[in-house]
């Protein structure tokens, strides 16, 4: 109980601190944090489908690309305001999941992972070839946001921050809800879940839709933020791999774990990059290997074990006194 209160206080404090950051951090760090928030959203979205529902959606980055291209194409070709393009991007992702989710979610484990990868590659190829609409391999330059640089950076900072908070809230609500229990039972034993009367197809599809929508929002914001997108940058498998690493490192199937994972990897990678320019990929890889060896279940479980050990020790001491 006390651990939960401590955890909650730490999380709220961290949230408030991050909301205050734009008022004293320089633009370099603001940009870094915005990038971290983006990965936190992607990781949390992976967590909903892979961590809670047990379907390793390896190609989830397809929704990032769809969101980015929805915003890009609509803003450039149809001059639709940014806010509306986000909503349309979400809708595109939802329909995509609804259409492909029902057949693809019949696959399990590795087969599902590979199928989602295929979906991403196929979508990338389509976007690449629809040159008239998407600009093809040349990419798409979005209209630059007006106003001064600082204000724009803060705008994107708060957009990503808000979406990250939304993703955490959604995950928290899922973890406490009947829907979340349904998802967890599917992860644990799908046939068992089915014989308990859970409509597994519906639950899986819904979980993936939530995941897709969050990823899509991140893609939309990214497109406007970068103001230039190309298929190989937004349908990029490295984004998928990174968000998976963060998700596993942070703690699968927990609310805060994936966020911690995203912060850890991105911060370490930033430091490694700025201090060990020539070796940074190697250093990053080494750190990941060490973390996987010493915290195989992820940060959050590591912290929990440590915390509960300390609590346990305290309770013994109290009894002695």
């Amino acid at each position: 109980m006390r651990e939960k209160v401590v955890g909650l206080v730490v999380c709220v404090a961290a949230g408030i601190f991050l909301a205050c950051c734009p008022f004293f951090l320089n633009l370099y760090w603001l940009r870094n944090l915005t990038n971290i928030f983006m990965f936190a959203i992607l990781t949390q979205a992976v967590n909903i489908i892979a961590g809670y529902t047990g379907y390793p959606a390896f190609g989830n980055v397809v929704f990032f690309g769809l969101g980015a291209y929805s915003t890009g194409v609509l803003m450039v070709k149809f001059h639709i305001p940014f806010a509306i393009t986000i909503l349309i991007g979400i809708t595109v992702c939802l329909f995509f999941t609804l259409f492909f989710g029902i057949p693809v979610l019949r696959l399990k484990g590795h087969y599902f992972a590979i199928a989602t990868l295929g979906l991403n590659e196929a979508t990338r190829a389509i976007v690449d070839n629809l040159s008239d609409l998407t600009g093809g391999g040349m990419g798409l330059s979005l209209p630059l946001p007006t106003g001064d640089v600082g204000a724009n950076n803060r705008f994107f900072y708060f957009m990503m921050y808000g979406t990250m908070m939304l993703s955490i809230t959604v995950t928290y609500l899922i973890s406490k809800s009947r829907f979340g229990y349904g998802c967890r039972s599917i992860r644990s034993d799908e046939e068992g879940a089915e014989s308990m009367g859970i409509d597994t197809t519906r639950y899986k599809t819904m979980a993936w839709m939530i995941s897709a929508a969050l990823t899509g929002i991140a893609g939309s914001i990214y497109a406007y933020w970068m103001s230039y997108i190309e298929p190989s940058a937004v349908f990029d498998m490295t984004i998928a791999i990174k968000s998976f690493v963060m998700f596993l490192l942070g703690g699968a199937g927990t609310v805060i774990g994936p966020i911690l994972g995203a912060f850890f990897i991105e911060l370490i990678s930033t430091f490694a990059w700025s201090y060990l320019l020539n070796y940074h990929i190697g250093a990053l890889g080494l750190i990941i290997i060490l973390v996987v060896i010493y915290m195989p279940r992820g940060f959050i479980y590591f912290l929990q074990e440590r915390l509960s050990l300390r609590m346990f020790a305290n309770s013994i001491n109290e009894k002695r006194i």
């Binding site: 039972s185 068992g192 014989s195």
Partner: protein
């Protein structure tokens, strides 16, 4: 429809027919496992399904529960044809399955597992009552309420699986391989509890490898072999049937003579 074929079952007019299976064929496409299955079940009965490995017992239970779609034939439950219904709708109608190998939700506590069984229920008061009933039937689950199911013993896991199935307030409870991997004392305890469940009016179909105990507790038995029903009748009669004794119980009058 199916009643005309079941001439061998004595009909008692006050009992209500709860399930009848008519010319059922089922299996795993393209492999057909069950052929021409024909049986029926009255309310409050305990039916034992017997047969060797691979005879199709689990396939039959899974087909009734809806996990497997039948190839042909009818499943009539409470006077309506259900063979096209998905599993979750059948659970709502009161058919609950205790799957082979328990299939508990590993990362969840005993209480969470039990609550998963009430997934199709909406009335919180009824769910709480049902939980109490399960705890009354299996007091050990109350003690283990907060434990992760992975920490339970085999017998406790089976109790949890049966308890979970009971949480949906079933009318028809299907239990697959009840004694799988359990010691005789635990099995006896479980069978006593099952008797109590039956007395509360739940109709039971129990798949058992242990033919002797299965037939002592059951009202009637069906014997499956190679996907077909080869024998059926009153449990006591089956227990005394020389062929059953020879095939499943390992004793028949000629044994000693042959050895000498």
């Amino acid at each position: 429809m199916a009643s005309s074929r079941n001439v061998d079952i004595p009909q008692q007019p006050e009992q209500k027919r709860i399930l009848s299976v008519h010319r059922l064929g089922s299996g795993y496409k393209p492999l057909q496992v069950l052929w021409d299955i024909e049986f029926s079940l009255e309310e409050g009965e305990w039916l034992a399904l017997l047969g060797t490995n691979g005879a199709g017992k689990s396939t039959l239970l899974n087909t009734i529960a809806g996990l497997i779609k039948p190839f042909c034939g009818e499943i009539v439950y409470q006077e309506s044809e259900i063979s096209a219904l998905p599993v979750h709708e059948r659970v709502r109608l009161g058919i609950a399955l205790v799957p082979e190998g328990r299939r508990l939700f590993a990362g969840m506590t005993v209480r969470e597992n039990l609550m998963m069984g009430a997934f199709t229920q909406n009335d919180d008061g009824k769910i709480a009552g049902q939980l109490q009933r399960v705890f009354d039937l299996f007091p050990v689950l109350k003690e283990r309420e907060k434990q992760i199911v992975g920490t339970l013993s085999g017998g406790e896991r089976q109790m949890c699986a049966i308890g979970r199935a009971l949480m949906s307030q079933p009318i028809l409870l299907l239990v697959d391989e009840m004694s799988l991997g359990l010691g005789p004392v635990v099995v006896d305890g479980l069978l006593e509890t099952m008797t109590a469940i039956k007395q509360e009016g739940v109709t039971l179909i129990v798949v058992e490898q242990d033919v002797n105990t299965a037939l002592i507790y059951a009202d009637r038995g069906y014997v499956l072999r190679e996907g077909k029903i080869v024998k059926n009748g009153d449990a006591k009669q089956l227990l005394e049937d020389p062929a059953i004794q020879k095939d499943y119980l390992g004793y028949w009058k000629g044994v000693e003579k042959n050895n000498k």
